[in-house]
Amino acid sequence: MGTRFEMVLAGADESHLRAAGEEAIAEIELWHRRLNYFAPDSLVRRINTLASSHPVAIDPETFALLTRCVELHDATGGAFDITIAPLMRTWGFRPLAPGSAGGLNERVRDSRDHPPADFGELSRVEPGANGRAFGTEHVQLDAASRAIRFTHPGIEIDLGGIAKGFALDRAATLLRDNGITCALLHGGTSSVVAIGAPPGSEGWMVRVPGAMGKPGLPVDASDLPDQSTGKRGACPWHPERGIDVSLRDESLSISAPHGRTVEHNGETLGHIIDPRTGATARGADLAAAVCDSATDAEAWSTALLVLNDRPANLSDEIASILYDASQGWRIGGTGLQARATRAQPTMPANHTELELRATTDPAGESAPRPTMEACP
């Protein structure tokens, strides 16, 4: 995951908060070690090394995560896909994984400086039964033996697009198990989990920044539309300043293509790949999703960016935010306007706030991602 995790916990007993926070950080570190695409001793490396040859038995939690990844792949119409690491490398967005089984990387020219002209070049390389040399279709999960195998040589899974959210979910579960009722956790400022709400407030206020690459500016009360109309999309936002979202027992994730780019034929291409075509996604400048779980929110924020639209069949319970210069903000889902609030957190004097931080191994650091900000 190679990023910084931070959490703020509120409660009466600082010792208890710290102990619970340390367990949560240990949990995040555990999943970082297990799901790290780059580390030689990670479970993902083990799977990538062996699963093309034979089934690899894995623990129930990782199996559940991979099962969810497959479900999300189907739910997003293939816009979220955990097998695109070879594409990422081919486009030059990812360094070669040390000890990688090779896959496309060894068969396609090292294209860091020379991205392929089109996806056709990739698809001609030893395609599988589906005509593609990558794809979640090549990942098989056997629930009875709790094992994973790949049906095509060179397939790799890279959970970089979802591991952070999953680790945050696991950490949040531990915090709740330990009696924490008020906390905010984030990973790399692009995924956030809210537990409860700050005392005196209806939710944790998080700002999705405005125009691409610009930090969010403080929202003035005069910017806020009248929420009494119940009109969809009526939440505090400003084209330049961003959207403030109030989260309570929910998660928000944000994706944008501009964190890492390559120059190709005089054009700047962002690092979000459309797994359906193999090309870089073009359209929205930013996408965010609010879901019950950070795992789902991470997958959906990426998928929304790829799709550049809210799918018609997407549950209303999943809130979506899309922004691009030509269409401005597009907000969907019935929940978001209810979440938007002007309430500002206030802390009673007898409450303790504790901040904890951890930085996972920066090796293989993922692309810088857009940041959310805690609202003033």
Partner: protein
């Protein structure tokens, strides 16, 4: 978009898998440290579902379908429920005796409770005919250690393994062979080790009534402090390498960061002295995490540094060169160049994958658990016996006492032999 057929039936899955295994046999791949399957399926139980218990469960689940976690036990219900979420199908118990009575199919138990509770659980499990893997340190008193050793010796065919992981670690075993072949000299010049981890050492307790029980490591009545809890694991590594035990210990400590009312040190040190004058210096702290955990064995011809997942050999300028070094993988550390110690390097080199073998592919705990299960399966001696676990633990207890009293304590060899 066509929906992929990901719902292959189990038969097809296994048929394809068999093809994969055949390919594996033809092309000796990639994973020389992978465990061979056990000869029989085994039901096991984990007693104590704190952080270490959860780690044990996680590693057991990686070992494969031969091993089923059939039961787990914890007196704390929230921990028990969290454990059950991680082990679908396991039965939960609040009392270890009830587990031993009810789950006759459980042949082996893993004890990861607070240290001072190990003894009774180990004795009950051994008397119930179960194989026992008990976390290190074995106990919080010398007397309890001795009782465990006696019980393990009289347990008939039951295997007892102390959870000191160094002796099962492939990198440590490889480095040990280098040390034994005098690669760093005829004898050790100095041994140094540390365990630095920045955390409060506290466990969250939802129920204030459980605070004392859950934070037993901070309770001077039962805690053997950092030197006992962290040290014992590493003291066993030193015993393994040096092949002898210290004859005296001096130590000290203080509270440098976590001044939250605790009485146990958050930073401590000890010097263990051997009969030939060899000094083993050990430091441990909760106030700083620089360089984490390591052991260093210094000889006149070189130094071996071990960090649980990695190992290196640093040669002195006047050390003789051996032929294999030409092909060795190396890493630079400021002004020093270390030869990476890679487990099963010959196999990996034959596959042209030597660099990929740097670092263990699994957590060190995995190898300790796997070696225990193999001992149970084959009836072979455990890599770390109750006797060796007792010696590491007793040295840890005495180091803790020396630090608390700020004095030197002589270690009577008789105390290390039950």
């Amino acid at each position: 978009m066509n929906k992929p057929d990901r719902s292959l039936d189990r038969r097809t899955f296994l048929q394809t898998a068999t093809g994969g295994l055949a390919a594996f046999a033809i092309s000796p791949l990639i994973d020389p440290l992978a465990a061979a399957p056990l000869s029989r399926a085994m039901n096991v139980a984990v007693i104590g579902i704190g952080r270490q218990g959860r780690a044990i469960m996680s590693e057991l689940q990686k070992i494969g379908s031969d091993v089923t976690i059939a039961a787990i036990c914890d007196t704390d219900d929230s921990r028990l429920q969290a454990g059950l979420r991680r082990a679908p199908g396991a039965e939960g118990f609040a009392d270890h005796r009830a587990l031993l009575d009810a789950k006759k199919e459980v042949s082996a138990v893993f004890i990861s409770t607070p240290t001072h509770l190990h003894k009774q659980i180990a004795l009950d499990a051994l008397s119930a005919g179960r194989h026992v893997y008990c976390e290190c340190p074995l106990a919080h008193t010398i007397e309890d250690c001795a009782e465990i050793v006696r019980a393990a010796r009289s347990a008939g065919g039951a295997i007892f393994q102390t959870g000191a992981q160094g002796r099962a670690n492939p990198v440590y075993r490889l480095a040990w062979s280098f040390a034994r072949s005098r690669s760093i000299g005829d004898s050790y010049v100095m041994v140094r080790a540390q365990n630095f981890q920045k955390n409060s050492w506290r466990t969250p307790a939802n129920d204030p009534a459980r605070e004392k029980a859950l934070n037993w490591r901070l309770d001077p009545e039962v805690s053997i402090g950092l030197l006992g809890e962290n040290g014992a694991q590493q003291f066993d590594v030193v015993h393994y390498y040096v092949d002898k035990y210290p004859v005296k210990v001096r130590g000290g400590g203080s509270i440098k960061l976590w001044d939250d009312g605790r009485e146990t040190y958050d930073t401590a040190w000890c010097d263990l002295v051997f009969d030939d004058g060899l000094i083993f210096q050990y430091q441990t702290s909760l106030a700083n995490s620089y360089e984490d955990v390591f052991e260093q064995f210094h000889g006149s011809l070189g130094t071996i540094k071990l960090t649980w997942s990695h190992g290196w050999l640093f040669k002195e300028a006047d050390a003789p060169t051996q032929g294999w070094e030409v092909y060795a993988n190396r890493q630079q550390f400021h002004n020093e160049e270390g030869i990476t110690l890679i487990a099963d390097a010959t196999k990996l080199a034959a596959q042209g994958k030597l660099k990929e073998g740097v670092g263990l592919p699994n957590d060190p705990l995995y190898y300790a658990l796997e070696s225990f299960l193999r001992s149970v399966d084959e009836g072979s001696p455990p890599v770390c016996s109750a006797d060796e676990g007792m010696r590491a633990t007793v040295v840890g207890i005495l180091a803790h006492q020396a630090a608390v009293k700020s004095e030197e304590i002589a270690i009577d060899p008789a105390i290390l032999n039950v």
